[in-house]
Symmetry: C2
Subunit: 274 residues, 2 copies
């Protein structure tokens, strides 16, 4: 979905001489080509990226560091970024792998992490949309020694797709996204699992909204939670504390406290709009 | 929203000789009239319902029992139902009030509870829609001594608006809706409150979906939680147990268990569709 949407957006805006889709599954590549998201496709990473000047890695997060290294070797001129939902472990691993790989020099001048806050629980190029990034935020995660020129190239890339870019360190990104994305997934999944199945027929809009992201890919989310464990568990503690405040006010029948807690939640929710 | 939608649906289908909107706020009544949801409006309950043969009470749940009694007195021929999100306490209170009110006889032959599983976090006739009940479930809650004829009249009413009717006792309704509606609201509110406000700008679709119902009216939801306290706290225990299973698998790094938990959540979520 992310890779295909980038391709559609690049081609619609005529921003690239050639868009090459590299992937493992021939069927996904065929769909991307049919959708017009790419000019050509290949399952061969090395030949696919050889002449690229910009490579975006949209694999599951676990595979990103190794893929960054492989791309760095195969495409010595390319600026490289990714679209993973976690950033700290990826950026650390890329740095460690690069340090162990003497033939790759200056990867810190070519790779910087990105996380487009776009897409939903669906995966695959059949859900790609040229306007997926319109008015969305992309977090780009420079490290202490990232050269300003690299930050600007990657910022320009995303803004050319109509996104706005926010700069955070990889660790800040992970703490913030634990609260705004990873914890909601955890809560939605636990809520779905806690619903007795004989009552599912009585679920309406509220249940469907609140649990929607629990339909996300379990494999991808297992990786995300594993990579961002500490920040997710911190966010979970904040959530459990809030839940306890609500539970207490219900249990002791303190309508004033309950109403105030609900008002505060509404105030925060209303800040984001529908 | 519910009252206005009933009016629009009745009038679009020409199912009523006259639709009368009774309310407290002149502005809401004026909006309902402008929208074409009612033939006439009044703030006087007694004259408004005097000649009605069918009355649907769409007040906040706290006011429903007293309103049922007032309608029963003012409209001696009317079949009466409501649209409240809780049922046990309402049905008990109606019974108790009726027992204390000698001039009202046979209210059990005229009142039965309803809960249309339709609408969302918004309130007011400006959000009314003639198709709000299309393919939605309405729970109707007969008690042991409810006459079959009354059940049929109220069932026919809702099915004439394109809803499908499910019969549950008031207590069964409350246990089921605690899990499918009230707990999701509690979780959504706690999640919104647990989000540090400086990171709200990094919230995307997932956060917005998962917290959407936290925008609901705090006053209405304070009443709902208070009325259905025991069942809500039971549901909360099931949720906390599930959340603990997820947290443990993340904490100890058990990717297999975490993946299995996420798959089970996805299986339950997928059963409901988008």
């Amino acid at each position: 979905m992310i890779g295909g949407s980038i391709g559609l957006a690049l081609k619609e805006r005529k921003l690239a001489g050639e868009v090459i889709g590299v992937g493992r599954r021939a069927a996904s590549l065929a769909t991307a080509a049919q959708r017009g998201a790419v000019d050509r496709t290949t399952t061969n990473l090395i030949s696919g990226v050889a002449e690229a000047d910009f490579v975006i890695i949209t694999t599951p997060v676990d595979m990103i560091p190794d893929t960054v290294l492989a791309v760095a070797k195969a495409a010595p001129q390319a600026t490289i970024t990714d679209a993973g939902s976690t950033k700290g472990q990826i950026c650390r691993e890329v740095r460690e792998l690069a340090a162990k790989t003497p033939e790759i020099t200056g990867l810190g001048n070519r790779f910087i992490g990105s996380h487009p806050l776009a897409g939903d629980h669906r995966t695959g190029p059949e859900y790609a949309r040229a306007d997926l990034f319109n008015s969305r935020t992309v977090v780009v995660t420079p490290e202490d020694d990232t050269p300003p020129g690299l930050i600007e190239r990657v910022r320009e890339f995303w803004t050319s797709l109509a996104a706005s870019v926010e700069l955070l360190s990889p660790e800040e990104h992970d703490r913030a996204l634990a609260a705004t994305s990873h914890l909601p997934h955890l809560v939605a999944a636990a809520l779905a699992s806690a619903t007795p199945e004989e009552w599912l027929r009585l679920a309406a809009t509220g249940w469907c909204d609140t649990t929607r992201i629990a339909a996300g890919d379990p494999g991808l989310w297992t990786q995300i939670f594993s990579q961002n464990r500490a920040a997710v568990l911190d966010s979970l503690k904040r959530f459990e504390h809030q839940l306890e405040l609500f539970a207490q006010s219900i249990e002791i029948g303190d309508a004033a406290a309950l109403s105030q807690n609900l008002q505060e939640a509404k105030r925060i929710r209303d800040a984001l709009g529908d």
